[in-house]
Structures are given as C-alpha cells and as structure tokens.
C-alpha cells in the first residue's frame, strides 16, 4: 500500500470497494449528532476493528505499529467511499485523529508498542482530559496537579470537564501542571491515565439534548507509573499543541453538518413547498450548505496532496454550525413545532449550540484565524504564573 500515484490510487479504491461490498453489512449507518447506546457503541467499535484489520484505519501510520504506510490520498479515498455509502468510519475519532498521531510523534518506543495498535482497533478507546472548570479557552491555565514521587511515579489531583466518551475509554490523555514556579505554559506535562485507575471518578454531564455524551472526570490521588508521561516534564504544552494541530487534518470536519438531502426532503414533504418565501429560504440555506460541502472538499484535496491545511480550515466548523442551525430552523418551521421534540430535527436543534464550542469556542477560533491567517496583531497576553 505504500506506493503512490494515480494508478495505484485507482487500484486501492477498487480493492476498497470490493472489500466494502463484502463487509458493509457490519457497518453502522453514518448519522449526524445522533445519541449512541452501549449496544450501538459496541457494534461501532467492532466496525473499527474490522476497518483496522483490513488496513483501512490509521492508513498513513507506520506498519510497525499496525498502520498501513499509506498515503494521505488513500486516507481521503477511504473517507470518501464510506461517506458515499452512508457508512460510519472509526468509532474512536479522538484516538485515531488526535491521540494516536501524538503518541507516534512524542511517545517512547515502549509507549508506541503498548498503546497504538489497540487504539487503532478500538480495543482500547481514548478520551482527552484537557479542559477544566477554570481552564477552557485559556487551556494553559489548567490547575490539575501532578506531583513527582520519590520512586519516579506521579500522583495527580484535579478536575476535568467536557470529556467526551470517558465512559467508554480505556485511557485518557491528561494535561496537568507539574511545576508551579514557571510561566503557565512551561509548567505543564502530558500523561496517560488508565480510566479504571483508583481515584478516577467519571460523572456524566447531561446536555440540552437530555443525553450525557460528555462527562466530568475527578482525579483524587491518582497514582501514575513513571512511564506514563508523554514527552519530558514541562513539555506538556508542546505536546498539546501537536495534538490540537492534528485535529485540523482530521478528514471530514464538515461532515457534522445537517445533510442537505434531508432538509430538501422535509420541505418537499411539507405543505409549504410551493410557498415563495419558503423556497427562497431553502435556496439560501442550501447555498450555505453547498458552500460548506465544496469548501470541505477543497480542504480534503489539500490533505490528499499531503499538505497540512492552514488554520482557515477552522472556518468550516463555524459555517457548519451556523448553516446547520439555519437548516434545522427551516425544517421545523415547515414541519410544525412538534418537530422540535422529534429525533431528527429536535435533537439537532438541541445539540448544535454545544457543538459550537466543542474543540474550542468560536471566539478563540476567530482569534487564531485573525492572527495566523490575516496577520492581525495579537490579543494582549499577559504572561502569568499559574496560581
């Protein structure tokens, strides 16, 4: 799979299609912002294992750790073929898109051997222990404290929040403060936390939807082995930036948008489908969703060619939330207010406001793009020590 070139990509795609013909029955349908019960999660993890065993997960990762030594174009091809068939990709998006690549960059040889392959198959899934009640947008302000013990192990105390999938995860990747005497970005370190360790308490947080997709995680005197640190002590911020950078090359960041065909079907099924005002609104919302789709395609083309998209790719997320909410509102307007409590539109209406801040608030994203892409002067940042 390591060879590239268009002919090889065609062959890769043909082989993939054959494989999907034979295996698609095991795949969960691709859904937007849908809640998942334990049975559905089990099935989805099984699908991830199947993809991994066939070489269709971790495609660009080294073969030594279970990857396929493949090209970005092949990775994009897999996502495209799955999307075209309405099939889900891997379950553990956080593990595959963010944690795995980070361990490959910053982990020791032992850590790569231990964690990467089970992560790829979904045998062990991951969560991120980053945000805290007092450190969200200002992530470097985290207060969770890891103290070095005489035997080289660490003891962690603190509280994390907005932790998606913690209830399913075998491990969390934890940003904690190891030095309070230096500037806040410099006193951080990154760790691997077994989620079943003594002192780890997971408490579900119920969202607007009524579901509990993310959690609070309490860490009380959690003892971590010497080799659980990723990178050197004090390098945590650098490791975190690597990890957040990988989020940007995650293929399909625009795919959480409301599907255009569902919106069109909702309007078509309604009594308002011939209403001129409704049609103009549909045209406006549809145009935004089409703009989103083609912008995502442009970013995917970049990835397929082996480039790392710039921060402007983050604009996709803003448009995705804005256009999806407009789409949901139109659908509910034509279907009637009871649609606010249905599984499709009602669920999205409730889920979208939270999505806006997932992975970083829109305001922080706009700061980042304004500074890195447009070259505008930075926000005033006062160097502070952590309290």
């Amino acid at each position: 799979m390591s060879s590239s070139g268009p002919e090889n990509l065609d062959a890769f795609r043909a082989q993939l299609r054959d494989w999907l013909d034979a295996n698609a029955e095991h795949a969960p349908r691709r859904q937007v912002l849908a809640p998942q019960d334990d049975a559905a999660v089990g099935r989805w993890r099984g699908w991830q294992a199947r993809l991994a065993d066939a070489g269709y997960a971790g495609i660009t990762w080294p073969g030594a750790y279970g990857g396929s030594d493949g090209t970005p174009a092949q990775r994009v091809a897999v996502e495209q073929e799955l999307t075209a068939r309405g099939l889900s990709g891997v379950f553990d998006f956080i593990g595959i898109e963010m944690v795995g690549p980070t361990i490959l960059v910053h982990g020791t040889e032992e850590q790569r051997d231990r964690y990467v392959h089970p992560l790829l198959r979904g045998d062990e899934t991951w969560c991120q222990l980053l945000s805290e009640p007092g450190a969200g947008s200002d992530l470097a302000a985290v207060q969770s404290r890891a103290r070095l013990q005489d035997d080289g192990s660490w003891v962690v105390n603190g509280q994390k929040v907005w932790t998606s999938f913690a209830q399913h995860a075998a491990f969390g990747i934890l940003l904690a403060r190891t030095d309070t005497e230096v500037a806040k970005h410099k006193g951080l370190s990154m760790f691997v936390v077994p989620m079943d360790a003594e002192g780890v308490t997971i408490r579900p947080l119920r969202q607007i939807t009524g579901d509990a997709e993310f959690n609070e995680v309490f860490l009380d005197d959690v003892r971590l082995a010497r080799d659980s640190i990723i990178g050197a002590p004090g390098e945590g911020w650098r490791v975190a930036l690597t990890m957040l950078g990988f989020e940007r090359v995650g293929v399909g960041s625009g795919l959480h948008a409301t599907p255009l065909d569902r919106l069109v079907a909702a309007v078509h099924a309604s009594e308002d489908r011939d209403d001129a005002g409704v049609r103009v609104r549909l045209g406006q919302v549809a145009s935004e969703l089409l703009a989103l789709r083609h912008t995502s395609e442009r970013v995917v083309e970049e990835i397929a060619e082996g480039h790392v998209p710039g921060p402007e790719a983050g604009l996709i997320k803003i448009t995705s939330v804005t256009a999806s909410l407009a789409a949901c509102r139109l659908a509910v307007d034509v279907a009637g207010p009871e649609a606010l409590v249905d599984d499709e539109w009602g669920h999205q209406v409730s889920a979208l406001p939270g999505v806006r801040s997932a992975g970083g608030t829109e305001e922080i994203l706009r700061n980042l793009i304004g500074e890195r892409v447009l070259g505008l002067p930075p926000e005033p940042r006062v160097p502070t020590k952590a309290a």
Binding site: L255, H268, R273, A291, H294, T319, L376
Partner: protein, 376 residues
C-alpha cells in the same frame, strides 16, 4: 487559499492583474459618478483575449471554459473594472453552444463586436419574453429591465418562451427593427445597464436544446459571483491593512476582537463563495446540471459575502470610510447594485430551491434515482 490551479490558469490570473494594473480603475469608478467616461477596458479585454475566452479556436477564440472566464472576472471585480464581459461572455457561451455562424463568432471573439444577453431570467423580474417561430426566424416580443451591458451592444442573444412554455433562443443585430434599448442610471457608475423593448423582433434561431437555454443566464450569475468574490476580497484587504496601521487606545485596532472577528467573518464568507465559484468552474464542461446548481448557489453566497464585506469595510474605517474620496464607498456601490442585477440574488436562491425540490420530486416518483445530493 487552498485552490488548485493549473499553470495556465495561474498565468491567466497574473496576466489579468498586470493588464488591469495599467488602468486606474478605482479612480475611473469614482470619476464616472461625476459623468466622466470610464477607462477603455473593452479594448483592453479584446487585446488580452478575454472577449474570445468562450469562443472556439475555429473562430479565433481561445476555446477555454467557464473556469477561466470566472478567474478573469474575479480579477476585474477586485479592482472594480467592468469590461462589459458579463453580458458578452454569457451571450457568446450560448452562441458557441449553438455553433452559430463563424463570422459572427469571430467578430465577437476579437472584440470587433460586443454582445449582450437578453433573458428575462437575467434581467429584473418581469414577464418572460414571448417567442414564436416564423420559418427559420424566431420572433420575440417583450420588455426586460436592468439588462447588463446592453446599451451600445452590437449583438443581442435573446432567450424567451414559446407558446408551449419551452425556452428558445435567437441572435440578432442590436440595430434591427423593433429593438429599443434605453440606458438606465446606475448607482455604481462602472456599470452599463439598460431596458430592452422587443416588438416583433425577427432573430436567427439558435439550435440549443430547451433545457440548455438557461446556461447563459446561469453563467452570468456565476460571473457576477466571481466578480463579487474579487470585490469582497479587495474589501477584506483594505480593512486588513487599515486594522494593522490604525491605532486607538495605544493599540492597532486589528488587535481588538470587535474588529478581528469581523475580518475573519469576511474571510469565512469569501471562502465559502469562492468554493462554489470554483465548483461552478469545474462542472461547466462536463455536468451542466451541477453547474446550474453551483452557479446559482455561488450567486447567493457571493452576494451575501459582498453585502457583508462592503459596508463592514466602511465601518472598520470609521468616518473616513464614508467619504466620497475613500475607495470603500465604491465597493459599497458595487455591492448594492450587483446583488440586484441578473434577476437579483433572491431569484438565484429560488433557482437553487427549484433544482433541489424538482430532484426531490423525481426521487419520490422513482425512488432508485441516484442523487448527487445524497452525499454529506
């Protein structure tokens, strides 16, 4: 920004920038408001080969596609240059499609003559132009307002509906009997806009399938979108420079989120519109149904982008942005008129909805229909 272009396309863009830089188009846009004649951009366009972009090499044209035309027009929009290409390119696309007379196409390709498109779908909303066949001729009656580039055009391509409601097209010299063209006053003085009255106008029928006669109007909308993307991008650049240079309370105003976030919003809207323009450009040659959807969607999103960027550019500049001398006001004039041309952005939104709902309707009739929209 993340836009894959061929070397030829890149060269075309750079050549367009070089060509346009020879004229002070912004000063021309301002002095035109006081009645001064604008720069002679038609001649420039002809010399650069833009007038023949969509005409085949058999008739001295460049034989290129819509993508190239969109790229050139985007550069024109950036500096508010109106070379009368929006009417001409849309009209010549239909003539090329119909395989019209090579002498006529040749004269249009070299810029010796200039064409405009008269289509009720590409003018201000009004009753469709009526058409009836009389031998090899097509006879048109009707009135269309706010037609782009029609005053002083040499050749008119007319699209109307026959008694059965089918779209038909014809071509005629602009000085033929029964044609009256009246120039309209334009808020953006770079524009040439007119009302066309057709009274039993006999035109040469164009052999275009009924479902393809709207390609000219759709192309004109895509061209307007590309031009708007260029203008909006110029607004962002004006605003960006000012936000970096201008200090208030001891800091560059671009460091404040109130300004910074506004500029990022400009970028977001421009990039969305640009993606649709690119998609329209890429689909023109092989998939006209996809082109129609992309062109109309591009028109909607690009009009909204320029609608946002032009006034916000004035606001970022404060009082100075609202003065006669400042270029921001010229982009604002461009925005206000452009969104209302070629049927207006609202008509484009309705066209997007029509394409999608028609397709949904087909699917309910034939559930096995494969849809280009089912993905994503």
């Amino acid at each position: 920004m993340y836009l894959a272009l061929t070397d030829e396309q890149q060269f075309l863009i750079e050549a367009a920038q070089g060509t346009l830089a020879r004229h002070d188009t912004l000063e021309g846009a301002r002095s035109a408001l006081d009645g001064a004649p604008g720069p002679a951009l038609w001649q420039t366009a002809a010399e650069a080969g833009w007038t023949g972009l969509l005409i085949g090499e058999d008739a001295d044209g460049a034989g290129l596609g819509a993508y190239e035309a969109l790229l050139v027009v985007e550069q024109c929009g950036r500096v508010l240059a109106d070379a009368r290409l929006l009417g001409h390119l849309a009209a010549t696309a239909l003539l090329e499609q119909a395989g019209a007379d090579a002498t006529l196409r040749g004269a249009l390709a070299t810029g010796e003559r200039r064409a405009a498109l008269v289509d009720a779908a590409a003018g201000e909303r009004s009753a469709p132009v009526q058409a009836r066949r009389a031998g090899t001729q097509m006879v048109f009656d009707g009135r269309v307002r706010s037609v782009l580039d029609v005053p002083d055009a040499d050749v008119l391509v007319i699209v109307g509906r026959d008694a059965d409601g089918a779209c038909v097209a014809g071509v005629v010299d602009a000085d033929a009997d029964g044609i009256t063209v009246t120039a309209e006053r334009a808020y953006d003085a770079t524009r040439l806009v007119g009302t066309v009255r057709l009274e039993s106008v006999g035109a040469t029928a164009l052999a275009i399938p009924a479902d393809r006669t709207r390609d000219g109007a759709d192309l004109q909308r895509a061209l307007l979108a590309a031009e708007s993307v260029g203008a909006a991008d110029a607004c962002l650049e004006l605003s960006r420079s000012y936000a970096i240079d201008r200090f208030a309370f001891g800091r560059a105003i671009g460091s404040y989120q109130a300004i910074k976030h506004k500029l990022v919003e400009m970028l977001r809207r421009i990039e969305g519109a640009r993606s649709l323009v690119v998609h329209a450009g890429r689909t023109w040659d092989d998939d006209r149904a996809a082109f129609a959807l992309a062109a109309n969607a591009a028109r909607v999103v690009a009009a909204d982008a320029l609608d946002y960027c032009a006034p916000e550019t004035i606001f970022v500049h404060g009082g100075v942005g609202a003065t006669w001398e400042h270029d921001a006001s010229l982009y604002y004039r461009r925005a206000e008129l452009a969104r209302r041309l070629a049927g207006g952005a609202t008509v484009a939104a309705a066209a997007v909805a029509a394409v999608l709902l028609d397709e949904a309707h087909l699917r309910t009739q034939r559930p096995d229909t494969v849809s280009a929209l089912s993905v994503g």
